[in-house]
Amino acid sequence: VPATSQVRRISNAEYDRIVRDLLGVTALHAYGDSAPSNLLATDQEGGLTDVGWAGYKTVAEAIAAQVMADPTLRASFISCDPAVGTCLHDTVVSFGRRAYRRPLSADDIAAFDSVIAKGSEITPTGAPLEIAEALLYLFLVSPSFIQKEELQDVADGAGHLQLSSYELAARLAFLLWGSLPDRTLEQSADDGKLATAEQILQQAARMLKDPRARDMVSAFHRSYMLMGTNTRWDNTNKDPSLFPAFTRELVGVMQQETELFFDNIVFAKNGSFEDLIQSPVAFVNSSTAPFYGLDPAKFSSTLTETTLGATRPGFLTRLGFLNAYSGYQGTSPILRGAFITKQVLGIAVGAPPPGAEQTPLPPASDQLDTNRKRFDAMTSGPQCAACHHTFINPPGFALEAFDTVGSSQTTERSTGTAIDTSADVLTSYYGPAVHVSGPAELMAAIAQSAGAKSKYVSEWIAYTTGRRGDPGDSCAVNGITAKMSTSGYTVQNLITDLTQTLSFRVRTAEQ
């Protein structure tokens, strides 16, 4: 079980979702309706900085003022008349249970009570509503709110430390929603009903049906596909003289299609990993239809679910990936092949050797009359061939069935020569190579590859824990990977099984 910090700060994305779920605040009116996290310092794991601390205080002040000024929002914080009786004290106890993801301790409550007692000194007029606003501000700047605290220090007898039911509930909520527990999960924690793996699984299955889990699954697949700001996806562009139908506006549409694909397979189809690799489902609109060889007149501007032929299996043959992993003017079997080799099959080929980048791509000639032959020649030097001819190029060559903008092609654009999409692909480091005739057989081979499944699981572990390649997680990766070969095992099963690993249920202390 990998050692974990006991006081990690919530991420900025988590902050936004927490104040949304806790208080209904998604935009700060005082700052042009920008998302709260815009005003926070950039996420980092080191010590809190002055910019970071000031950011928390600024945002807390804006949120507290906004909540108290809006009766609807205010009800999510305070449900009694603050001028009457013990309302402020009661609010501390009930709101604190949610905000801190645990019941407040006697010390916590005493600290808030002393602030209430000083109310008239620390507010303009001492009005109960002003004191309530000050309390909300204090909640939002307190370490118990800002940090994911796992403080219970109880050994489990097997070399690990047990998590409290509150800590487990918070882990569940952060994993599946990137936010805090809902009332049902809070109740389970209060009742001690997160004690067994089965009870945790039951909650996870329930929580996976919530729209917040779909957001999380989408975000995971963006991470798996290496999408994001300033990535190849984001910066995709094509030479307009060669590909006039391509426009920059399509970049977002193509990315959205890939996101819809993953969402559809995981949720609507309740599909498996093999389905992600091989499903014919696509989402097409009138702008992208021509690239798929479809009639644009049959589509609107909305991306609509469509079934493509058997030559277009899975996310690796959708427009988004094929475009992002191509050049400006031509395809790149290297970019496509390296992504499949490293990110999908999990084969750790290293970086190119010194000087590799300066190797020129030989121009087309009578002998080198296809893109494939040119790239093959470019990487034929002994230093290059070991990785390129063995691992990287073959899957890229199979995807030469699709041109730079993702359209099907059978002949080379510039020479008219027939394109060879057959290849001997290594789906694991030690082989043996699988002979494929083109994309469909390539995807079939990937879908059956233990390495691809293991890589997919380890990406899930990395995404949900923040740990990448920790040896302590290898048991969890292997365990779930083994399950993936059982019939009917879905991606949803995989996700809920992330809560069934030992490292999810217990912790070990850092040195």
Binding site: Q6, S34, L48, E121, S142, P143, D234, N237, D239, E510
Partner: protein, 543 residues
């Protein structure tokens, strides 16, 4: 900004009611203006701080158009005719060190992505971990210097336009080994940190609150917030936790103490007296107003999407353009303001490289990184884009203009017997030399300001000895040719020596004497350590 000097003179006392920047009220409110009367009664510190500013850009440049005509010797405005032309008017205050190479040059040291290598080792001179994160095994120069010259040892102010993250291609600052220190990208956030908790009332052009009995509650509220958070943290202090976790708790407690010092002892963040130039008037003269902050800050989310990562969008494109133009300029203003408030003495301003330039008359359709490869994509070999050298040149010139803007701003603000620029070392440091070759030798570096007289001014200095030359960026892509080799081999003096020189220039000391070493290694062998210690005397005014 040329005529603001008198107003910003540190000894020019401003009306009390206009002081907004007193740090130290931890609470919900504006700083209490009356406190500065005590500040003034105690007078100002006589020492003018020295500072370091690093202006960092990606993807190299056309080196042969960038370097001044003179390689070694006095530098005149007439020598700055290429990319650096916007800096010509500052020639007497420039130092162009020639012949440095940063650790490690790709292909000579570790064999990993050249951009990962350049970013990770740029300010650390340390090897990178051979895992997916590629983090370096040491802290970066800005943190080393901040610990030595920021009186409270507070962290440097690391800023960026566009988006920032802890990804190795977007981070050059590291607070410790394996610990990225990402930049902040929202000018409003940076401004608020200076205001500390000003929040909704952070409009610096609004009248400051008048002194009244009400002010008292603000102070008490500030103190009660500090007491409250400290109480919550002390609960953690008592627990058995890892040293990393204890440090996290202690860091937070230190921040509380610093702000409390502000309340009780009239001290600014750096522990020195709050400088009298640190006023809302100053902010306004610098163009830092509520309206300009709004105009310079992104709308919606900087990193789009409900979860991290997101779809390309027109709002994202607009935010990027705003951030690169108004946002970057505002960051410069905020750097000046931080200097005037002595809130920090070490600054990094980064311009990320994987963006499409589509502003200020540049209408690129492919991103800077792809253009720097000459091919219009991630692919590093093959056919050149049409007119690609013109595209690169436009971006190089745009960056030169931005650096000149920063230099001009700092030089327009009087301080002590000179300007902010004179008391600082303001360095344009590139990720790479040539963007297609990814080479790190013969780095195009220019430093403005002498850091209080320490650095040589109005000079180019060849630190290698033998002629270096301007590189070969123009060697390819003429007449639609394929991209050839655009790199060069000369100029290989380890950049550690420049960093040591800068450390001494801004007042770092090692056991009371000069600093002689920085970084883990200065050659291609990580275990060989620093083989060539010491600063470069030829870069100092003493030679």
């Amino acid at each position: 900004m040329k005529n603001t000097g008198d107003i910003m003179n540190r000894n020019n006392n401003r009306p009390l009611a206009r002081r907004l920047f007193l740090r130290g009220i931890g609470g919900l409110t504006l700083a209490a203006p009356f406190l500065t009367s005590l500040n003034e009664a105690k007078g100002q510190s006589a020492t003018v701080p020295k500072r370091l500013v690093i202006f960092y850009t990606h993807n190299g440049c056309l080196t042969d158009r960038w370097f001044p005509k003179v390689e070694n010797g006095p530098l005149a405005a007439a020598d700055l005719t290429g990319t650096l032309a916007p800096l010509a008017q500052f020639a007497p205050k420039l130092l162009v060190p020639r012949g440095f190479r940063s650790m490690n040059a790709f292909g000579k040291g570790q064999s990993i992505d050249p951009h990962d290598q350049a970013c990770g080792s740029k300010l650390t001179c340390a090897p990178l971990n051979d895992d997916q994160n590629r983090y370096p095994q040491a802290e970066s120069l800005d943190h080393t210097i901040a610990k030595l010259i920021n009186p409270n040892k507070s962290t440097p102010l690391v800023l960026s336009v566009g988006a920032a993250s802890t990804k190795i291609k977007e981070v050059i600052s590291f607070s410790a080994a394996n610990t990225p220190f990402p930049a902040n990208v929202n000018p409003r956030t940076v401004f608020n940190a200076l205001m500390l908790g000003a929040g909704t009332s952070s409009n610096p052009s609004a009248p400051a609150p008048t002194m009244s009995p009400e002010v008292d509650y603000r102070l008490k509220r500030g103190q009660s917030v500090i007491d409250f958070v400290r109480g919550d943290l002390s609960r953690l202090q008592k627990l058995k936790m890892s040293s990393a976790d204890h440090n996290r708790v202690q860091n937070w407690l230190d921040l509380l103490r610093d702000t409390e010092v502000g309340v009780g002892g009239m001290m600014g963040n750096t522990g020195s007296m709050q400088p009298s130039a640190c006023t809302s008037d100053t902010a306004m003269k610098l163009g830092v107003t509520d309206a300009s902050l709004t105009a310079a800050s992104p709308t919606g989310k900087i990193t789009p999407g409900v979860f991290d990562g997101g779809t390309a969008s027109s709002e994202g494109d607009k935010n990027l353009a705003t951030s690169f133009t108004a946002g970057g300029d505002m960051m410069m203003n905020l750097i000046a303001l931080n200097m005037l408030c002595d809130a920090n003495r070490v600054f990094v301003l980064m311009y990320p490289g994987y963006v499409v330039f589509n502003w200020d008359g540049i209408n690129d359709t492919t991103d800077h990184h792809s253009i720097s490869h000459r091919t219009g994509s991630i692919i590093v070999t093959g056919t050149c884009l049409a007119n690609v050298l013109d595209h690169i040149n436009r971006i190089d010139q745009w960056y030169a203009g931005k650096f000149a803007k920063l230099v001009g701003l700092l030089d327009s603000i009087q301080e002590g017997g000179g300007t902010l620029l004179d008391h600082s070392a303001t360095m344009w440091l590139p990720e790479l030399s040539d963007g297609a070759a990814h080479n790190l030798n013969n780095l195009p570096i220019v430093i403005a300001g002498s850091a209080g007289g320490y650095l040589k001014q109005g000079a180019a200095v060849n630190v290698e000895g033998s002629p270096i030359g301007p590189g070969n960026s123009d060697n390819s892509c003429q007449d639609g040719a394929n991209k050839g080799d655009t790199g060069s081999t000369t100029g290989n003096v380890p950049i550690n020596k420049l960093y040591v020189t800068l450390m001494n220039a801004v007042g770092c000391t090692d056991n009371g004497g000069k600093v002689s070493k920085f970084g883990v290694m200065d050659g291609m062998n990580a275990t060989a350590g620093i083989a060539n210690p010491g600063e470069v005397a030829a870069l100092t005014s003493s030679v």
